[in-house]
Structure formats: structure tokens, C-alpha cells
């Protein structure tokens, strides 16, 4: 049976690793119903297992400097149709995507991966640092008031252009644009935008969050939905704040205890948007895979 592949992309610290860890735990534990179940797995899965253990134990899921495995695959199955899909986390750190933007070069293996991909799961985070404010935003409108900043002097050094400082939404739009033209041979049919750390959002819907916080990306997706369908979901994969495992003992004790109190750890997960089941990280993937005709209304 053919296995559809879906690619997970996102810049650094956008929540991909936590999502992967929580998804692995969710599928493996079978504590709550999910639209997709764990598919067949063969080979080495020690890395994702390590991440899922951190998640289950109430620790912040983060990669360490010694973690060398960048690529993780999680296989999913739709019981009713026997549809199988592979979720490919090609670059958990996000560094490769940022390098791709800056250098305009990619690894041949990434090209091959994208060529076989049908859908894209794009991660952004509600925990993001605002990186696109302009100097004008902070200049005082009241001309009688003292300027917010001292007047520029002739000696003020203009920094060289640094691609790394380009606002994240611009990098993400550029990434999506690059994926739909050569050398990448085909366009993804669907894109799911996951707004991670959703518990930190102050918006009612994930669409509103995207429009307010990444308006360029929002426009790009809406303007091109005739060729690429998209949906936006809010996801809190961690369920709250968690300490790092190597933090001093007692750090964020209350927060960790709150996470561990859940009778079923999977219920820490929150997913909002469209017809997502409340604790089901596979709901966005269900749509990404085009399985809505099988929706049984649960």
C-alpha cells in the first residue's frame, strides 16, 4: 500500500520537537481517541522515544547539543480506509531551513524528500519574539515631546544586511514560495499551519493569530488557496510550561506538578481549529491527508 508523505517544516524553536514527542506519546499510549493511529514502524526510534519520555515525565522537550539525529519519521494509519501516511520531520532543529533561506542552497536529500511530499505541516509559535517592528513604530508622534531615541548622528554605523535577521514571516513565505518552483518538482496540495504554544496566544482562533502576528504569511496563503489549500490550527503540545530536566531541582515545580496531575497525560494536549478533536494532534494531519470524506462526526 502506498504511503503518503507529509513534510514538517519550521524555523528554530517553532515547536516541532515538542509536537513530535507529544504525537509519539499520544499514538503509543492510546489514552484518548485519535483520528489517525500509530502505523507500522521499523528500525531505530530511540531518539523520538527519548523525546517522548521527556514529554511524558513533564520535562521541557528540547534537543541537546549532543543530539545528532535531525530526521524523524512517524507513521500514521487511518483505520477505516487503511490510508497510511508518514510525517517527515526533516530538520527538527530548524537550522537547515534558516540556512536554506540565507544560502539559497539545499541538500539533495531534502530535494528528494520534498519531491515525494504531498502536504506540508508548517510550524510557527505563539511564543515568538517580535522581530518585525520598525523604528518608525517607536518614533514619537507628539512633536513637542522628547524623541524616543536621540537623533541619528552622521557617525551611526549602518549594519550590513544579515539574512538571519529577516523577520520570520518573510523567511517562511520565501520558504513556501521556493518549494513550489524548480528545482522542487511539484507543489504541495495542502498546507497546515500549526501555531504552537497555543496556550500563550491571546486570540480566539488560530486564523486571527496568524493574521495579527504574521500578516504577510496569512496573505500569501489566502491569496494562493486556489492552488494550495490551507488551514490553521492552534496546538499546545506541552500543555503548559515545563522545566528543563537539567535545571536545578525545584525549578518550576508547581508548573511540572500541574502537568503531571492529569490522569491521562495525553489530555494535556490541546488542539483548536476547524473540526479538531480537543486532544488529538492527528486532527490537522487528518485534513492534510485529505481524509474528510471519511469523517464519522465523532
Amino acid at each position: 500500500m502506498r504511503t503518503a508523505r507529509h513534510l514538517v517544516v519550521g524555523l528554530q524553536e517553532s515547536g516541532k520537537t515538542t509536537f513530535a514527542a507529544a504525537l509519539w506519546f499520544l499514538l503509543d499510549s492510546r489514552e484518548v481517541p485519535t483520528k489517525l493511529t500509530k502505523g507500522l514502524h521499523e528500525g531505530e526510534y530511540a531518539y523520538i522515544e527519548k523525546m517522548a519520555k521527556l514529554w511524558g515525565d513533564g520535562w521541557k522537550v528540547e534537543r541537546t547539543s549532543s543530539d545528532t539525529q535531525e530526521r524523524v519519521r512517524i507513521n500514521l494509519l487511518h483505520e477505516q480506509s487503511k490510508y497510511s501516511a508518514a510525517l517527515e520531520f526533516a530538520d527538527l532543529s530548524g537550522e537547515s531551513f534558516e540556512k536554506l533561506f540565507a544560502t539559497r542552497r539545499c541538500d539533495p536529500a531534502f530535494l528528494e524528500l520534498v519531491a515525494s511530499t504531498e502536504g506540508v505541516l508548517l510550524f510557527v509559535t505563539a511564543r515568538r519574539m517580535v522581530d518585525d517592528q520598525t523604528i518608525l513604530d517607536f518614533m514619537d508622534i507628539d512633536t513637542n515631546a522628547e524623541p524616543a531615541f536621540p537623533p541619528a548622528t552622521a557617525a551611526e554605523r549602518e549594519p550590513n544586511f544579515d539574512p538571519a535577521k529577516v523577520p520570520q514571516q518573510v523567511q517562511l513565505v520565501d520558504l513556501l514560495e521556493a518549494l513550489v518552483v524548480p528545482p522542487f518538482p511539484r507543489k504541495p496540495r495542502r498546507v497546515v499551519v500549526v501555531v504552537s504554544a497555543w496556550d500563550l496566544s491571546r486570540r480566539d482562533t488560530a486564523e486571527e493569530w496568524l493574521q495579527d502576528n504574521m500578516p504577510l504569511l496569512d496573505q500569501y496563503l489566502r491569496a494562493n488557496q486556489e492552488t494550495i489549500e490551507f488551514r490553521v490550527y492552534g496546538v499546545s503540545a506541552q500543555g503548559g510550561e515545563a522545566p528543563k530536566k537539567d535545571d536545578p531541582p525545584g525549578t518550576m515545580r508547581a508548573e511540572r506538578e500541574a502537568l503531571l496531575k492529569a490522569a491521562k497525560a495525553s489530555t494535556r494536549i490541546r488542539v483548536v481549529g476547524h473540526d479538531a478533536w480537543a486532544h488529538d494532534l492527528t486532527s490537522p494531519l487528518y485534513w492534510l491527508a485529505g481524509l474528510e470524506p471519511f469523517d464519522d462526526g465523532k
Binding site: T134, I135, L136, P151, F161
Partner: protein
Amino acid sequence: MTKACALADCNVSSSGKCHLEHDPVETCPNFILAKEDFLEGGEDRGSPEDASLATPLDKRTIHISPSDALEQSDLNVLLRSQSPRIVALVGEQVAGKTTLIASLYAQFCRGMFGDFLFAGSKTLIGFAELHHLALMSSGLSDPKTPRTSRNDPVAYFHLSMRCADEGIRNLVISDRSGEAYEAARTDTSLVSEFPEFRQADRVAFLLDARKLASFEFRATYSRQFKQMIHALRDNAALSHSPAVEVLTTKIDVIEASENSEELKAFVTNFEQTVIEEFRPRGVEISCYRICALPKAKREVGFQGLAELLARWTAAPRPLQLSMPRIDVQAAREMDKLVGRWDLEAEQ
């Protein structure tokens, strides 16, 4: 493979950081990936000649689509696949050409602009580079726009937009250094070296309100502004009848001036002078005013840009062609056939 650098005093192999502060380090032109044995004194330490074993990064990777500003050759390729509206911006140094381009991009970064949704760009990094000195991350206290060097060839910036209830509109805007245009004003042989005019649907002459506001510079600047239009017209840059407009920029300076009403009247009068001077010469000029970076008076805000975008992307006026009527009694069979088609169409 280990990170390494061709520069002797760079410690990227141990620290992971580029001596020249490139980030990512792979963007440094001196960056290489080298076999570990050669670098870390393994059993097979190798020799300096073994530097040839180092594998330059670009031999192991695939190029993806660029996103810089387009050069002329890139534009020619683009024109094979789409029919954008092309606008040539003309103006002296610091008239505001590059600032205007950066401002249009910046408006979309904040949200839907006018009736337009941002649908993409072939030059997103090019735009980001124009705008980076206006961001807080630049560390500057005053927003700036990078200067365009006279040595730089003309650059083109591309925007794809979806208009409400309509399809996609593509826009390409040219940007050339003001020094180049100033030189062409007095050496008109240079005009033929400016390809941006041959393809332009519209030519926009930027009129710098800051210079008009200065009594010291006003007279010479006004004269030279019209001289620029004459230079282009007289040397066939406008011979294909593009739409021509005068864009008065930096109107925040006018509003901030103590003599703002006098200045506004002066600008109005000058605009009319320009219109009347060129109409008899076959050039119909429209005049507009914009503010692309309201520094002099913040409350002026960004003005005229949404209307500008609508105007620049509007469909061109259809050509009015008058076809001669074909005589069905004509001797040539082809003429008779066409004549019969005409009759059938009328019936």
C-alpha cells in the same frame, strides 16, 4: 565532515563561529567542509597539499530559486511567463525611489494593503534588504534606506498581488541610482543604456518635496527636474507612450514646514507648469503626492501608496484600432475571404 575556514585566524572549527561574523557560518565565502583527519590530527594527519581534499559546500548542495532583486536578464526570463505591469522610477539621488519600493513591501508586511492581498514575490530577499535599515533589529535610531550605487545595474523588484474579486496582478518596479539619471540629464547618450524604459508601462518621475521646500535649492532643482523629462523624451525613452506621472514625495516635509500652505501652493503651481510644458510635446502627465516614510511629521502617515498601487496595476487602456473595410469584389481571394467574414460578423 568538519567545519573549517580558509582564513588562518578563524576558529570556526572549534568555536562554530565565523571570524567575520557570518551567520549561518556556511554563508561565509571562506567556509569549507574538510575531512576530520586533516584538521584534528588523526592517524592520517595528511599534509598541506591535502587541502585539495576539502569539499567546498556548494559542490554538495543544490541551488534553489534566488530571491534577490532581478537583473535585466532575469526580468527578460520572467516576461516569458507572465505579463507584469512595469514601472520605471526616475529621480535624482535621495528623491525617494528606493524608499518607495521598500515602503510598498513594508505595507504588505503589516497586512492587506488597499484592495490587495500579497500573493508572492520573486524578490522577497531583495525587498528585505531594502527595508532592513528601517527595522528595530538594525540598531539604528533613525530609519534609513540603503543607497543605490551608480555602479549598480538597474534592479527590478517584483510583487504579485490578488485584488479583491479579481485575479492576480503582477508588478515590477525598476530602481536605478539617482546619480545615473543625473548624469544622463546632461549626457543624453546615456539614455539609450537604460533598458527599463523600453519595457515600462509607466514612468514615474519622483519630485522631491524636501528640495522644493528649500528656497536655496528650489529654482535649480525645479529646472533640472523638467530637464530630466526633456532628456528622456527627446531621446526616445518615452516614444512607446507609457503612462507618465509626477510623484511628489516626502509630503510630510511640506506638512511639517512653517510655510506649509505656501509650499503646497508652490507644488501645485509647479505640477501645472510641468503638465502644460509637456502636453504640446505629446506627453500627458498626471501628478500625485505620496509619503512613503513619514519621518518629518509622524502624524502625516503613509499617504497615497494604496492609490498608487491600484493605479500602477490597473489594466492598460485598450488599443483603439481601426480596420480598413475589405472590398468583397477585390481581386485577391484572400481579400474576398476576409470580406465575407466581415459580412458574416455584421449579420
